[in-house]
């Protein structure tokens, strides 16, 4: 109750929450879009999504340690993770593409544990950050702060998102990806090398995660075991938005981001995840009802 009063007494807190939420939401949307891509095209729910993100974060971190500005980490992590993704596809994922969903869940879950442990052995269990050193802006007499890195994050996320959409719409590979998503068998009949499409889709997703991870290393902190929240959030955003629905992904991403911030204020951060899941359940029930109503009209 006190917390709600505080929000009303200090309106700038709401401004801060909304700004933070939108910016964080943009970051989640990006990872979620990659997940939706893999899910839609290959029918694989990638549990290792969060680990790809953290791996990308480490790329940015190592550049930073080597004296290179971590912003370069965004493209470099993208490329590195693209290669990693391609390798993983050739070793593991291609074996589970047309299999039961349960098998691919297990396979990617195994991958996520493997990557965590490898990161732990190779990079150590310490918390790492990459400092971009961009400074901070202030509004309302220092009451609302916007670290510039968050603005950069927002812009880069939006830019990458847009780039991806155009790529999927216009490019030859993008068209092949969409055709495979619609009907893999028909696409194969039409001469599309679906195996290649799958490999590219999975690698593309890894690359997106890598770029996201570089941003995470600059805005938050990374260590080998913090991938799971990114997987969970991506998963929730995709469930809310549905597959192949980019505006939906963006709306759900920022929506969840803002809701999280307000939940933090009102209930305290310990109930953040509980609140978000509650929201998810409420949303699914509501959508189920809407669909049921639609079906009745059709009858």
């Amino acid at each position: 109750m006190d917390n709600i009063l505080l929000l009303i007494e200090a309106p700038f807190l709401s401004v801060q929450a909304i700004l933070d939420g939108i910016i964080i939401g943009a970051l989640f949307s990006l990872a979620a879009y990659g997940m939706a891509l893999v899910w839609g095209v290959m029918r694989i729910i990638n549990i290792a999504q969060g680990e790809f993100v953290i791996l990308g974060g480490y790329v940015a971190y190592f550049l930073y340690e080597a004296g290179i500005h971590p912003m370069f980490g965004i493209p470099v992590a993208g490329v590195v993770l693209f290669v990693v993704g391609y390798g993983l596809y050739k070793v593991v994922i291609y074996r589970v593409v047309d299999k039961d969903l349960f098998i691919s869940l297990l396979a990617t879950f195994g991958l996520s544990i493997l990557i965590q442990q490898l990161m732990n052995i190779m990079f150590g269990a310490d918390v790492q950050i990459a400092e971009a050193g961009f400074g901070t802006s202030f509004m309302f007499d220092y009451n609302v702060t916007i670290p510039h890195i968050r603005i950069v994050t927002f812009i880069v996320s939006a830019f990458l998102g847009a780039l991806l959409v155009i790529y999927i719409k216009r490019s030859r590979l993008g068209q092949a990806i969409r055709a495979t998503a619609q009907n893999a068998r028909a696409a194969r009949v039409m001469g599309i090398d679906t195996d290649h499409v799958y490999a590219m889709t999975f690698s593309l997703n890894a690359a997106i995660c890598g770029a996201t991870g570089a941003l995470v290393a600059m805005t938050f902190a990374i260590h080998p075991y913090i991938g799971l929240p990114y997987t969970i959030r991506s998963f929730m955003i995709v469930i809310m938005a549905g597959l192949g629905n980019l505006p939906g992904v963006i709306a759900a991403g920022t929506g969840i981001g803002v809701a999280e911030q307000f939940a933090d204020y009102i209930f305290g951060a310990e109930f953040r995840m509980a609140f978000i899941f509650l929201l998810l359940v409420a949303f699914l029930v509501w959508r189920g009802r809407m669909l049921a109503r639609k079906r009745e009209v059709l009858k």
Partner: protein
Amino acid sequence: MRIFNIGIVLLSGIFLACSSIAFAKVTGDTITLGAAVSLTGKYSTNGKHTKNGYELAKNKLNAAGGVKVGGKSYKLDIIYYDDESTPARAAQLAERLIKQDGVKFMLGPYSSGLTKAIAPVTEKYKIPMVEANGASRSLFTKGYRYMFAILTSADQYLASAVDLAAAAAEAKGKSASSLKVAMIFENDPFSQDVRLGVVEAYKNHGMKAVVDDKLPKNIDDMSASLAKVKATRPDILIVSGHSKGAATAIRQISQMRVDVPMLAMTHCDSAGYKEKFGDAAEYTLCAAQWHKSLSYSDSLFGSAADYAVTFKGVYNYDPPYQAAESSAALQVWKDAFERAQSFDTDKLRDALAVTKMQTFYGNISFDSTGKNLGKPMVLFQVLDGKYKVVSPPKWASTKLVHPRPKWSER
């Protein structure tokens, strides 16, 4: 054929007997201790510090003539297993150490959570354990008789910061009860224990809490809590959430320009605080079990500073307190063996219970619950990129800078 079968049975019997002799608690001139430590998993960094601490003290003790019991010198040996940073595995390994390897003298794992998993096992088999890395208060409320902790319990970590703020207020002619406290703690047993100690301390001074947030275990963002801190303008901000909590807090406090007169935390050094954050870390107060500048000493390692030099010579990095306290655990065992003059676990337990000694790590004496009462926590302040001891006053190498300068004035 029958003879052959009997032969096999006999042979395996002999092997079995030999193997149990080979692994028993004391064989020949070797005393074997056992420890499950986290060599992989999320605690692997601190697990490694723990093992290094044990190893250093073991080698040093053996080189100095070992442990003398009944006129004979014994060397120490330690069996390690990797508990993978998971409590279930740690408990399994404790069973294995005791039942299969026949270990009768245990050393603790790293972290409160894993110690909590192991203590019921050692208790069940009545095996004494000297642990150096489990500080959680709940370890000392279960009536364990065979567990001895040489570190200060978690509720003492930051209570002294509150006292420090009260003293600073009174020195300026303000009453301590006018101060406002903000608390941001991770929702895990250790951090919540730290919080309990802080709550007790601020209530003693009649202060008021304005923010009291619990954060989820996977902390990656505390901006909402920090915005609340900005809005309520407390006099003290206290944060605890292991390394990632410390790293997240310091980053976001500087990004959001949160101005508080006093900021106190745990896990600054394991978060690599002053190295990674530079100016952003300045003026932060950090709680620690031990520091090399303290004036404790013993005959094995010399002073705390000597220990640091020895450790660095072997492992090539400055010893964090996790390593120091682990080394001290072996010194406590040696002391107990020599006072008990026996390898009987119950006699050893009684000898441990009346331990009263000084080590380079601090004074050690256990109360009836098994926690060390001999040693206070120390508080550092990060000043010019260095950790300076500011509390307790006896060891303060420099004066507390209070209040912290505002961000706009730095």
